[in-house]
């Protein structure tokens, strides 16, 4: 049954990919949506099935077939569903379904074949993402891991005629590949060390090993490599640069792939290998530091960006940083919790921005927006809910998850990291509401028509055949989100509000059901196939116990921190309101006063330029001038052609001996005679 979950979208992909050009838009959309919804249904059933099992045996497994068998390596195509996976597949299929539905409206301007192509990619993505999540060993996961990278590439470059889009797609793929390189090395290392790549078995083996405290041992190396892989996929320092560029893709894609699902794969991977990572505290610390640094850096950049999607992209990077911070401090449950809530509100925000862009015919620059509140009420309100959620305003989903992260960080003793997290939260609230205010409040700016050469000709792949759509005739009359889009927005908004309530902390009288649900996934299972005995060393109850029993002081601390973070969130919102609603000049003044800093932020710390200057261009120049034209053409071919030239030169030299003079010929012979006799006589 598990195999059906990725299979449905895959079938959808096949239908749309092979017959898409002959299907009408409605039919392709329907096929795609049906595929993902069917997948969602199966996912729900599966989750219900494991929910009905005893807590320590919530595992469903399906071995489809033996995939790669070579010597002692035997990799099965195995799908396994456990509580962690359950959360993930629900998010993927659930939010995925909504985004599919949303897309049917959003992409409606595309011609039939392009429409089908879009949905085939989207379905393929869902299939791969599900494989990633359900894979029971590293290699199956890697299939999904690379597969989603591919779909991300395809979807970012969906509007392939746009140079920037295809560049961005390539960049995403290549940067991901850099991470994958480390990921593969990590896999190889694990297999060499432990002889298996099955998650459960690895966990069991690792749990029997001592924690590598203060030493950088095998597990630390392996996990560090895996983490580097995760930085690629999840856009962390130093491999985050692709994600902002990825906004060149259609907005629903940004919502699904670059916010809700794919980019969280790294977080999921760490959660999946929680046992390994917890045995490598050194790596974990690196994870936490990178996560925190990314969160802060992306937050600062987000503060000054003017492209609506880019702000959201940096916010995504920032939030992912927070998730990694959580993973890094060992709060795996918190990290996954944030992943889960983030999926809702970030998808919501992206879809909301998509609705705005859709309404404005591709305009993405917030400086040209403003005052859209009254034109786009549904969009506005849902967007606002999303922003509140992400800002961490109390009792919305973001509040619970973010709070848990900050609490765990502080609780684990990482005060500096907590501080960074708190600043990030503040920045989050500020830039999100900067976005809200600049977009929806204030005066309406610009014509609302985005086709004045801004380059963002979304939906109109072929500029030459731009047919004015009656529904989008220009003028001051702006359409709010059409029903399909609105549906998705509203559902997600509800989710953004309510999603947090499955993880209400004990301090607030909740039971943190999510943490309890996830706990078995973060430890070695006794039921791991083929490996027995190791599990006793790591009693399964420990984590649950940790989650259940909380002392009074801790509860007080948690409450205090909650208060602090609520204050931070609200403070950030107020600051944003003050600057961008009341005193716009402050913003300009600040930008002017700290011109250097502003430029630095605006240009994203010049990281792309730095990469170009230090890595990309040198490699290119060296390859072309030194390796190809230098070594290959001059040295190697030079040696080859040189040999030929030497033979030819020798030939021309020796043939000159053949003067045509018979006496010279005779003397040549005579020399031979004298030399031979000389050899014999003087030998």
């Amino acid at each position: 049954m598990l195999a059906l979950i990725p299979l449905f979208p895959f079938i959808g992909f096949l239908i749309n990919a092979t017959m898409g050009r002959r299907l009408s838009k409605g039919l392709s959309g329907a096929v795609a949506c049906a595929a993902i919804i069917a997948s969602f249904a199966v996912a729900v059933m599966s989750v219900l099935q494991i929910a009905g099992m005893p807590a320590d045996a919530r595992v469903l497994e399906q071995v489809v077939y033996t995939w790669i068998a070579s010597g002692d390596l035997s990799l099965d195509m195995t799908f396994r569903l456990d509580p962690l996976g359950a959360v993930m597949i629900l998010v993927i299929t659930g939010i995925g379904s909504l985004i599919h539905i949303y897309s049917t409206a959003y992409m409606h301007d595309e011609i039939d074949s392009e429409f089908a192509r879009y949905f085939s990619y989207l379905n393929l993505f869902a299939a791969f993402m599900l494989v990633l999540v359900l894979g029971a060993n590293f290699v199956v996961m890697f299939v999904g891991w690379e597969g989603v990278g591919l779909c991300s590439y395809l979807l970012i470059g969906f509007w392939f005629k746009k140079q920037s889009a295809s560049d961005a797609g390539k960049k995403a793929f290549v940067v991901n590949r850099i991470g994958d390189y480390a990921f593969v090395l990590g896999m190889l290392f694990l297999f060499t060390q432990f002889g298996t790549l099955d998650f459960a078995r690895l966990a069991t083996i690792a749990s029997a090993m001592p924690v590598e405290e203060g030493v950088f041992g095998a597990i630390s190396i392996a996990t560090l490599l895996l983490f580097i892989g995760a930085t690629g996929k999840s856009a962390q320092i130093p491999l985050y640069t692709w994600l902002p560029d990825a906004m060149e893709g259609p907005t629903p894609v940004s919502a699904l792939i670059h916010a809700a699902t794919m980019v969280t794969a790294g977080v999921y991977m760490i959660g999946r290998n929680a046992v390994l990572f917890s045995h490598a505290p050194e790596t974990l610390f690196i994870v936490a530091v990178i996560g925190a640094a990314t969160a802060l850096m992306a937050g600062t950049i987000g503060l000054v960006q003017n492209d609506i999607k880019r702000v959201l992209a940096y916010s995504t990077v920032s939030q992912l940083g927070l998730m990694f911070l959580a993973m890094g401090v060992g709060a795996f449950g918190a990290g996954i919790f944030h992943l889960y809530t983030h999926a809702f509100f970030k998808a919501l925000l992206f879809l909301g921005s998509g609705a705005v862009i859709h309404a404005l015919h591709g305009e993405q620059d917030i400086r040209n927006m403003g005052g859209l509140k009254k034109f786009l009420p549904v969009t506005y309100w849902t967007f606002l809910i999303g922003s509140l959620a992400i800002a961490g305003v109390p009792f919305l989903s973001g509040f619970f998850s973010k709070d848990e992260i900050l609490y765990e960080t502080f609780h684990e003793g990482h005060t500096m990291l907590w501080l960074v997290g708190a600043i990030t939260s503040f920045l989050t609230a500020t830039y999100m509401f900067r976005l809200v205010f600049l977009t929806f409040h204030g005066e309406r700016k610009g014509s609302g028509i985005g086709d004045q050469g801004s380059g963002h000709d979304h939906g109109h792949a072929d500029p030459g055949s731009l047919i004015p759509d009656p529904g989008h005739a220009h003028g001051s009359h702006l359409h709010d989100a059409p029903p399909a889009m609105a549906l998705a927005l509203i559902v997600l908004a509800i989710g953004s509000v309510l999603a947090g309530y499955i993880g209400v902390p004990h301090a607030l009288g909740g039971h943190n059901q999510l943490a309890a649900w996830l706990a078995p996934s973060f430890q070695a299972s006794a039921a791991a196939p083929g490996v027995g005995g190791g599990a006793e060393l790591f009693p399964q109850a420990e984590a649950a116990e940790e989650a259940e029993v909380i002392s009074e002081e801790e509860a007080a601390l948690e409450l205090t921190l909650m208060g602090v973070s609520s204050a931070i969130a609200i403070g950030g919102i107020l600051l944003a309101a003050f600057i961008w609603l009341k005193r716009r000049s402050i913003a300009d003044g600040m930008a002017h006063r700290f011109g250097g800093l502003h430029r630095l932020l605006l240009n994203k710390y010049y990281v792309d330029e730095m990469y170009d200057a230090t890595v990309v261009n040198p490699i290119h120049v060296v390859s072309r001038d030194a390796l190809w034209r230098g070594f290959d053409v001059r040295v190697v071919d030079g040696a080859v052609n040189g040999t030929a030239a030497i033979v030819a030169a020798g030939s021309n030299l020796l043939r000159r001996l053949q003067t045509g003079s018979v006496r010279a010929y005779a003397s040549s012979m005579f020399v031979g005679v004298v030399v031979i006799l000389g050899y014999y006589l003087w030998r």
Binding site: R655, Q658, G672, I676, Y679, L681
Partner: protein, 479 residues
């Protein structure tokens, strides 16, 4: 005191009689009448082949100086093949160029007699006389187109240097005679075997001078200088004849003298021949690269092939000796076919033997181009042709005798040689320039000879076993 048996001379007698018949037929024909003199020659040659076959394994000896052992018979048969192919290729050429028909064929046949004599002689004097018969006939054949200054010049150079080298060879015979008191190879061998330990420098002088004589005939470096000029100047078919027949006969005699009589001194001559072989292989291939005349190029290639044969001589083991025989046959058929193509494509006024003349031959004469390609590939030693088997045989002898250096130089130079063979192929198949030369129609006889050669080249390239066994059998009885 005549020997009771004439058996051993029967093959060469057949050929000599055929030559006389040719001359007679030509002399007594009435003006305007055409005589099938080529046919007569072929009959004689076939007679020689048949008698050779009958003499196989009998080791007949006539007059004490002519031995018809298998070695001699193998070479004789090779020479018969050379002769038949030459005559077949010549028949259109003789008519076209207006050559004196009877004299031409007679000279070819007489020189074959000389070659056979060299191959089967057991006496240095007879070898010398055979060599002179062969040489003088070939000098004349080289210059047979008297109206062509190049042919005359070629004949002159060949003759002058040939006579010069004959003097050295003869001087070598003189010293050998002086020391051993005889010119019979078996007796010389016995004498030398007894002397092999002594420090008699005169023996070495004799050895060196004989070496020079043979090295000249097989055009080994540095005695090769006549080769390119003579080969280029001579009519193509004569070049083909002398590059194969002369070489085969000279090698047969060379091998016989140095591997039987002078075998006890192989420690003395092997190093010299080693160096000559190396120099010959390298010079032949390297200089061949720069040639623009096809005949001249093949002349250098033939020098190089002499070098490969010398490798077999240096190796001097059973494999090497058999390899020389096999290679001679392989090389004879291949090279003769290649020159046959050149001869067939020439006209009376234009030899059409420049490389550029072959541009686009594939388009005008696909069959000829294809056949020529097979020849060239065989010369280059590429499978599945007989040239490959021959090279493989030679080099396996070298490797078996521990001469890895020779083998490596040999194979590397053969790679270089492939380059210039390919130049011809490039011209024929891949040239963009339009064909400028109008080629004459090709006669049936010539074509038949070509096809037969190609069949032999391919058949022996794929199934060489019978001939390899024959070659091995040939050397088993004598050395």
């Amino acid at each position: 005191m005549f020997h009771s048996s004439f058996d051993a001379v029967v093959p060469m007698l057949c050929v000599a009689l055929a030559a006389l018949a040719v001359m007679g037929a030509e002399a007594f024909r009435s003006r305007g009448e055409t005589m099938p003199v080529g046919g007569l020659g072929i009959v004689g040659l076939i007679g020689a082949a048949v008698s050779s076959a009958l003499l196989w394994n009998r080791n007949a000896i006539s007059f004490g100086v002519i031995v018809a052992d298998n070695f001699a018979l193998f070479v004789t048969i090779t020479l018969v093949i050379v002769g038949i192919l030459t005559i077949m290729f010549s028949s259109p050429v003789v008519k076209r160029d207006g050559l004196p028909k009877g004299d031409f064929y007679a000279l070819i046949l007489f020189s074959i007699v000389g070659m056979m004599m060299m191959a089967s002689a057991n006496d240095l004097l007879v070898i010398f006389i055979g060599l002179e018969i062969m040489s003088i006939a070939v000098y004349v054949l080289t210059g047979i187109r008297r109206d062509d200054p190049r042919a005359t010049e070629a004949a002159f150079k060949y003759f002058l240097l040939g006579a010069f080298s004959s003097a050295f060879f003869l001087y070598g015979i003189a010293f050998t005679y002086g020391l051993a008191g005889t010119t019979r190879l078996d007796r010389i061998g016995a004498f030398l075997a007894a002397q092999s330990m002594s420090d008699n420098r005169l023996i070495l002088v004799a050895l060196g001078l004989l070496l020079v004589g043979f090295a000249f005939k097989i055009s080994a470096v540095p005695f090769h200088m006549w080769t390119p000029d003579a080969y280029e100047g001579a009519p193509a078919i004569v070049t083909g004849f002398m590059s194969t027949g002369v070489k085969a006969a000279a090698f047969a005699a060379f091998a016989r003298v140095f591997l039987s009589a002078f075998e006890p001194f192989s420690g003395e001559w092997a190093p010299i021949v080693w160096w000559i072989a190396v120099a010959t292989m390298i010079l032949g291939t390297v200089v061949g690269v720069a040639q623009s005349n096809l005949k001249r190029m093949l002349a250098y290639s033939s020098i190089a092939h002499g070098g490969y044969l010398l490798v077999g001589l240096v190796a001097a083991n059973q494999v090497g000796k058999a390899a020389i025989l096999f290679y001679l046959l392989a090389y004879a058929v291949t090279n003769l076919a290649a020159f046959g193509v050149i001869a067939l494509l020439g006209t009376k006024n234009a030899a059409n033997d420049e490389l550029r003349d072959y541009a686009g031959l594939w388009h005008s004469r696909p069959a000829l181009a294809g056949l020529m390609t097979v020849c060239l590939l065989s010369l280059g030693g590429l499978p599945p042709t007989v040239g490959f088997i021959g090279k493989w045989y030679i080099f396996s002898a070298a490797v078996g005798a521990g001469y890895y250096g020779l083998a490596i130089i040999g194979v590397l130079t053969s790679v270089i040689s492939v380059f210039f063979y390919l130049r011809v192929v490039v011209m024929m198949y891949m040239s963009d320039q339009p064909a400028t030369v109008v080629f004459p129609p090709v006669s049936t006889v010539g074509m038949a000879a070509l096809v037969a050669s190609i069949v032999v080249i391919l058949a022996l390239g794929i199934l060489p076993t019978p001939v390899l066994n024959l070659a091995a059998e040939s050397i088993a009885t004598i050395f």
